[in-house]
Symmetry: D2
Subunit: 312 residues, 4 copies
């Protein structure tokens, strides 16, 4: 992550401002408000604003005139109850707004979460920074042989360095061409007076999807948890998971009871099929059951066994 001096100063200015409010606050989130948490080689996540805390969920669930809170412990219990029974609407009453810098290919997966608000930096209007993502050696995996959309073992150090160099050289070349097409220097003055400046909306089409973009992204707590359940999952591509993991720790700061319940009932829980449930009941009664009898496919049976640590 490389912030300019101006950007650092702007962030510091925000962090030193203080206002009096009658709204509820989340003290642990206030502490790191505006701060840029680094992700990947040039990306970051910043919390820019938020609305509500754990008590706001309780307040909405009770359609309360005053604080939702009766006793802290009752609040915690109600939040666990709501998440356990998928009563999700009270969680929609909290909202959070992020500023995120991320590679375009990550942004393309991210944007598929539609119930959110987005303002992206515009390459039609402005000039993109020279920042692109190069995977580090420990993330350069070979195509997985078992999962068509995943990574397997790491590349050899030699091949990894070769790949990194190739990606870097291509990105450097693309950005140099981008600047040539734009034909303007950092002050906006023309560079080669014998040529036109190509329209920005066209010059940008030559950049690759590992270039960084940035956006403001705002989402309610229910939909944020849905995003995190999918994107902090081992099946998600590493590069988006890296963001989701940082955001999990921000979730914990913001709404600690909800975070706890999310881990308990969503993230670390498990779902069984009708056949899986029937097999479980048999096994618990001490009966034997084979894959064929279970009605599960081989793949399902394997996942079932792994999830339960069964020696099947």
């Amino acid at each position: 992550m490389s912030l300019t001096l101006t950007q650092k100063q702007e962030i510091e200015d925000l962090q030193t401002q203080t206002y009096a409010t009658r709204r509820v606050i989340s003290p642990n989130l206030e502490e790191i408000l505006y701060q840029a948490f680094p992700v990947l080689d040039h990306g970051f996540v910043r919390v820019m604003d938020y609305m509500g805390d754990d008590s706001a969920i309780v307040q909405a669930a009770r359609v309360s005139y005053g604080k939702g809170t009766k006793k802290v412990n009752e609040d915690r219990g109600l939040i666990h109850y709501l998440l356990r029974h998928a009563h999700t609407t009270p969680f929609e009453m909290c909202e959070i707004k992020f500023h995120i810098k991320l590679p375009i290919f990550v942004a393309r997966e991210w944007i598929r979460h539609r119930t959110a608000n987005v303002n992206e930096y515009s390459g039609r209007y402005s000039i993109l920074d020279k920042e692109f993502y190069i995977p580090s050696q420990e993330h350069l995996g070979a195509q997985s042989t078992s999962n068509r959309q995943g990574r397997g073992h790491l590349l050899s150090p030699e091949q990894a360095h070769y790949v990194m160099a190739l990606l870097r050289e291509d990105a450097e070349q693309l950005y140099a061409h981008y600047e040539e097409l734009l034909n303007e220097d950092s002050e906006g003055n023309i560079r080669d007076p014998n040529k036109d400046k190509l329209a920005r909306e066209l010059a940008r089409i030559n950049l690759s999807v590992n270039f960084y973009t940035q956006w403001y992204w705002k989402i309610d707590l229910h939909n944020l948890m849905h995003f995190l359940a999918l994107r902090a999952d081992p099946h998600a591509q590493y590069e988006i998971r890296a963001y989701a993991e940082v955001m999990l720790s921000l979730l914990e700061r913001w709404v600690p009871f909800t975070y706890e319940a999310f881990i308990q009932y969503r993230k670390e829980g498990a779902r069984f099929s009708k056949n899986g449930l029937a097999a479980l009941k048999k096994l618990l009664k001490g009966q034997k059951i084979t894959q064929e009898e279970s009605g599960m496919t081989k793949r399902e049976w394997q996942e079932f066994s792994e999830m339960l640590e069964l020696p099947l």
Copy 2:
């Protein structure tokens, strides 16, 4: 509007709380936070929380690291520009949460605005209050003869009083039956020990749609303006318009520049059809044009003339 002493105390408690925050605030909205603004005979609107202010719109439009603000006047100009050109996404970056008490028939129209979050008081779970809406005399209009879904002239005072009495008596009777079906007193004790308490989810089905319900309703600024454009419009039913008008004044408190632009470009603006635009050009050149030549229907032609105060 009739709040219990407990409710009044709960509201006062919220209003006296103060926290320090690094977030932006809207001073004029803070001033009336939590306060119940009366609407109709028993309803109210309260702002329970909010996120962002005018500067947050600018900040998002610029995908800024620091404050969006350059100079106040530039901010105002940008907000007008954005609304004028229907660049609506930056307005989605602000969010507001209301607590609203409203008759069921109003709630049924309201809920059609889908891009919002709602938690409604549950008649399956809880007992509804004895509060129902009786239109006042000056809102008891006869069926309009020109507009199939509107009101025309007022009823005579005699008929108005007759209608009000009839509505009141029916509602009183329904609530008495509701209590009989519930068969429990205010402490939850059974009243007639020879009978069961009917399930709450069934007892409530006998109440009429002028009974009040309440909900928490949260929406972003863009969608709020869409709601207000439709519901503060003279074509909206008076009872929902009464809420929209109170909310307009809350909008002005919250985001004064946006409010100003909303009035200028949405609420008090006008839309012309292709034919209307062509007719306008002719008229401005001093040419004559008839309804037949304009391609407009008689109804369109009439609306066109009225909008422009033309003596056609």
Copy 3:
């Protein structure tokens, strides 16, 4: 369900129309297209149109140029795989449109499903039919003592008949008053020439929420399954469940593979928490575990035991 002769004729007319199309069709759904399936005492569900079938899901998942289908068995396997892994977007590629007649209090729960399209019969514009819902004896449950929003044992036959009569008399009276307020006969002629017709938008506010309304409701297959998972569930209020159950059978007609997978992985599956999963592993290894050790609350422990038929 009581259709007028005109309505019956209109439905028959639709059912006899046949067109040639290049689109995929669902033969079992075509068979019952437009047919009104009765629900409750006066309600119904009709399929008015649909788009796509099982093969369309496969086609979308493969972003295919031609039919998604390779072999029928592979299609079935892919659909099961998609639903098992919550890859839900291909299911959004199918759409279905219903015409539904339902009591207002059911409509109020139904409309909370926001990702759907709705056109409701307008009581501002038109006169509502004299049709209201009276629960039958076998659905008149007392307030549950274990579940605050549910029904327990049935009322005694005497009390049930008393309740039914009370509901019926109130509804009859409300409708009579509605007609009096409207002050027009079935031809739209004024009845009492000494009085005004009250505006329809006002006269309707005196009707109770067990009166029937109707709407066109259109939804994609993914969101339909979400609706059915929640509303065909035993925790849903009986009256909305009655609709969901009819719609389940329509789902089976429409997309048989998807229906099968839905039952297997959603409807009859089960979700366990982190603590539940840990307890399961212990039990499967033959170890003992108590509620206290499990970290579950008493309520969770009980649900856990019941789900697995454990003698805990």
Copy 4:
């Protein structure tokens, strides 16, 4: 547009299939169903399925038991009325599904329309085709001097050819590197046995945003019109407008009355601000008004004059 022989055959197979349906059909849309309409140098738009026609809008607006249709002319009138008064929900009752091949940078703008369903070809799972967008000479505009996000005059032929060659060479190089990173031939066999195949989800990050992707995109008629109003507008970037224009002609085939009303009330209509409306009234009364008196900014005043062909 370059379809393989297999793809052409798959499309032909779909086009020759015929089924009998009781659903309404749109004859002019049936005619071109599945056909690939070329856009840009390698892109296309195909209609894959649809639901409803003009009559379905009328049917939903009337919550009708049978056909919405009374007389064709009444249907047309109602559709115009609905669109003129922004009664948009009946238009949501029609749905259309496209298969679209488009450059990634166009896809990135497109996806901002959130109320739609999408299934995109996955670069994590599959290998992308060697197809990239090179603007033709007549679309290579210089950066506009009046509009920060638009194109001005065309580049000189020399510069245009230089730009095209540069874009082409870069794309060729990126694809060659992509293949090298993938390290597999078209049969999926490894090419260089001394190296690993890099995971597909990583190899793709080196491709530029002018490479083509493809997706299934499904949307309701109301939201499609919103998309077309924004994207067939002169302010939209040419490359997305090229798609919107093809889709406009498909809209005309599908729902001719709606298309007509869309052109009349949305696409070729105009919106005036409060100040603009006030100025209009003065001008129509023969009074003079200056920009300063109008309350409009210079920019607004200029747009106002141009829209009305006023010599101000």
